[in-house]
């Protein structure tokens, strides 16, 4: 039964990525290459982050919440943002629409994150006889992470790839991007400082990721509207692949 449990947790952790890929138009536009490249960029970013954490961070004896260390970790977290910037802007993608590009990049990013952080513990732990809820919670965490990555990629594409945005929305976009980027540090406060148990922390993550996804979706569609409004007179002349 333990392989069964491993299989269950694996499909909870990695299933949504596959489902996302096949359900959305990503599979039709064949954006696999983009996702793979984004995954590789994530690996590189993770390596750089590791080196920085090892160099600058002190190992604390107690598991408490140290604001100074958390601030440092948040700063290092911005390397993530830099990596995402690189993946979104610098890599050469096939001719896919912006809408699909951020989704593909976010998907690849989240998949690499899940594999790197969750596959090894799953393989070693979930196959044992002893039953714990940890791996199911970890899978839920992976789901939350997927949503967060896609919203971060969306906000990132808004910031760097879209040139004309409504002026009023720009500060909100940057603020949201900041919150999503520092989400790991924000979740570590309840985990360490308040001492919440794992299920509570995962619930918190799911809730915040859904909220941030909703906000970024609203922002994204808000930025679409002026663009679409500009473009609508010319819509019937453009080939259908340009329709967003």
């Amino acid at each position: 039964m333990t392989m069964f449990h491993f299989f269950n947790c694996a499909i909870l952790t990695f299933g949504p990525h596959a489902v996302y890929y096949s359900a959305t138009p990503l599979s039709e536009c064949d954006t696999l290459g983009t996702s793979v490249k984004a995954a590789l960029v994530y690996l590189g970013t993770a390596l750089v982050k590791l080196v920085c954490l090892a160099t600058f961070l002190q190992v604390s004896e107690n598991d408490g919440f140290d604001p100074y260390q958390e601030l440092l970790k948040a700063l290092i977290g911005f390397i993530d943002v830099a990596g995402l910037y690189f993946a979104l802007t610098q890599l050469t993608h096939r001719n896919i629409s912006q809408n699909h590009k951020f989704q593909a990049v976010g998907l690849g990013w989240a998949f690499a994150d899940s594999v790197l952080h969750r596959l090894a513990p799953l393989w070693v732990g979930a196959r044992g006889l002893e039953f714990t809820w940890d791996y199911i919670l970890q899978g839920l965490e992976a789901n939350a992470n997927l949503v967060l990555s896609i919203s971060l990629a969306a906000l990132g594409s808004l910031i760097w790839l879209r040139k004309n945005k409504p002026k009023t929305l720009i500060p909100i976009i940057y603020a949201c991007a900041g919150i999503v980027a520092t989400m790991p540090s924000i979740t570590s406060y309840p985990r360490r400082g308040l001492g919440w148990h794992f299920p509570k922390v995962v619930g918190f993550e799911l809730f915040t990721s859904l909220v941030m996804a909703f906000i970024s979706w609203q922002l994204f569609s808000a930025c679409q509207r002026p663009y679409a409004a500009l473009l609508s007179p010319m819509k019937f002349r453009l080939p259908s692949s340009f329709v967003v």
């Binding site: 039964m1 069964f4 449990h5 299989f7 269950n8 499909i11 909870l12 299933g15 949504p16 489902v19 996302y20 096949s22 359900a23 959305t24 138009p25 393989w123 070693v124 732990g125 196959r127 044992g128 006889l129 002893e130 039953f131 809820w133 199911i136």
Partner: protein, 562 residues
């Protein structure tokens, strides 16, 4: 050039392949290191063959679900391990199960702390005696039965108590109710038990020479003091035999120490040689003693005036017994008994004489002195036990722990034996002379007795599992060498009547497992979650029509041909 380059490249790839394969194996092996709800040390019931018949628990590996005594009546226990704490033991229930050969996955007995040395300490427990008797009865039942499933003993601790409470709760409600508590699984991964090849028994003897007068060519008479030091019990790693016969060994060492003090000075050296014997093979009809005596020179054997065997003198109050096999009317026996009685009267101890005839045709040897008597050497056994024990009874099993032994009893016993011997050696019979008076330089040392008793109560001494050069045997040899002139060790092989099997202790892992229904339920939930996610994403990104079109059959080719 190109050709020579490629093999190098291939080799490099091969090496990296090997390292990847090795990594995969390590990862696969990592599963075994996963942690369990609890992991405790358990000790297996002894497995042995006697004259071809099999006894004890015949299996070692365990991989079954746990059940408690509150199991629903009529439940199938053939794949369950019954966990029975000693306090809740109903001996008739166990006897019924074993005698009627009812199928069972395994038995796990939980012993209270008082039977363990580290935690036993001096806790005052109600019904201490009751538990001791119950455990003795259980032990006798188990070692004389042939049990076709694993039986293990463990000490109670907090972890297993919580696990057991949980199991009882689940059993009481008939079935495990919640999905997560599919139950507890007990796993002991040990290989099949193998025979112990050539079990050795080691006899240690120490010789203290008496004072030979100048010109005297005759052999000095010898007095032998003997005690057997090995034990036999239901769980060999727990068979420490504090009373049987740790008390005897400690007494022998103390007597040796006292007489070595006396004999160190030629002015106080007696005209008797003293032979101290620590024999092994006691539970097996004193096999070791027999071999030891057979190895003696005829002259030496004839020079032995008498032998005193010490057996269980650790938990008596006021009465000791001297067991003999020669009739009490015998002059030598009378002399020995009178000597002991005189000293005992002064010490307020009652000494009784018990006579048991030897039946040469019966292989059963109940007392150690019988082995001497069979070779026509006068001997007697001093013991607190009044009746002769049966085979493998009273041989220092599980119940014989430090808690139940009294150092004062041993101290008094030592004084009794030492005084009696000294009066005989120095010819002070009948005179009221205290050689080993309390408070003097030759007083019996209670600290010595206590420290050796503590050591013996921590050392399991089942002979087949004691190697030739076991540290404990070496320690005994060294101690005897300190007190005597000459020490010899005799190594023998235990007779073919008994065969022992190894795998006596293991580590039990208790896992909390989820039931199969839980896994299936989870699969169902996850499957529906993924399907819902899929439909949600299709609807939001491609529209509802696309979702419906996925399920419609593709339009038939007829349209095209038409």
């Amino acid at each position: 050039m190109a050709l020579s380059k490629n093999p190098g490249g291939h080799r490099g790839m091969q090496e990296s392949m090997y390292s990847v394969i090795a990594l995969v194996f390590i990862l696969v092996a990592c599963v075994e290191l996963c942690d369990a709800a609890a992991a405790i040390d358990v000790y297996r019931l002894i497995q042995y063959d006697m004259s071809g018949s099999a006894y004890g628990s015949r299996f070692a590996a365990l991989n079954h679900h746990a059940a408690s005594l509150h199991f629903p009546p009529g439940a199938d226990l053939s794949r369950a391990v019954l966990i029975i704490p000693l306090r809740e033991l109903n001996i008739t229930f166990v006897r019924e199960y074993i005698n009627q050969k009812k199928p069972l996955g395994g038995l796990l007995f939980l012993l209270p702390d008082i039977f363990s040395f580290e935690n036993g300490g001096n806790k005052q427990v109600h019904e201490k005696e009751q538990l001791k008797n119950l455990l003795a009865e259980l032990e006798q039942l188990l070692i004389h039965a042939n049990i076709p499933y694993p039986v293990y003993f463990a000490f109670e601790n907090d972890e297993i108590d919580t696990v057991l409470a949980d199991i009882k709760k689940n059993d009481a409600i008939g079935q495990p109710a919640t999905a997560t508590t599919g139950g507890y699984k007990l796993v002991i991964p040990t290989p099949e038990p193998k025979k112990v090849a050539s079990p050795t028994i080691t006899n240690i003897q120490g010789w203290l020479s008496g004072l030979k007068a100048d010109g005297d060519t005759n052999q000095l008479p010898t007095i032998a003091i003997v005690a057997s030091y090995d034990t036999f019990g239901a769980a060999p790693p727990l068979s420490v035999g504090s009373d049987s016969n740790g008390s005897g060994v400690v007494a022998l060492l103390e007597i040796a120490r006292l007489f070595s003090l006396l004999y160190s000075n030629p002015k106080t050296r007696g005209r008797y040689n003293l032979l101290f014997g620590l024999t092994s093979g006691g539970p097996y009809n004193y096999n070791g003693t027999q071999k030891w005596l057979r190895s003696f020179d005829q002259r030496l054997r004839e020079s032995i005036d008498y032998a005193i065997c010490l057996n269980s003198i650790g938990s008596w109050d006021n009465e000791l017994w001297i067991h003999v096999s020669k009739p009490p009317e015998n002059a030598y026996i009378k002399q020995i008994f009178e000597g002991f009685s005189n000293v005992a009267e002064e010490m307020d101890i009652k000494v009784g004489l018990k006579h048991k005839k030897i039946n040469i045709s019966n292989p059963r040897v109940a007392w150690e002195h019988e082995q001497f008597s069979r070779l026509r050497v006068t001997a007697a056994t001093l013991s607190e036990i009044s009746t002769a024990p049966e085979l493998l009874q009273g041989t220092g099993g599980l119940y014989d722990s430090r808690q139940f032994v009294n150092e004062t009893a041993i101290t008094r016993g030592v004084k009794l034996v030492a005084e009696s011997l000294a009066r005989h050696i120095y010819g002070h019979q009948g005179k009221n002379v205290q050689i080993f008076a309390d408070g003097g330089s030759l007083a019996v040392n209670p600290a010595y007795i206590q420290s050796w008793l503590d050591l013996l109560s921590q050392t399991p001494r089942v002979a087949p599992f004691l190697s030739k050069n076991d540290p404990f045997v070496m320690a005994l040899k060294k101690e005897l060498a300190d007190h005597t002139d000459e020490v010899n060790m005799q190594h023998e092989v235990l007779e073919g009547v008994f065969t022992f099997y190894d795998s006596t202790s293991a580590r039990l892992n208790i896992y909390q497992v989820a039931s199969v229904t839980f896994d299936l339920l989870l699969l169902l939930v996850l499957g529906s979650y993924l399907i819902v996610l899929f439909s949600f994403l299709v609807i939001t990104t491609r529209g509802l029509d696309d979702l419906i079109s996925l399920f419609r059959r593709p339009p038939s080719r007829k349209v095209k041909t038409a």
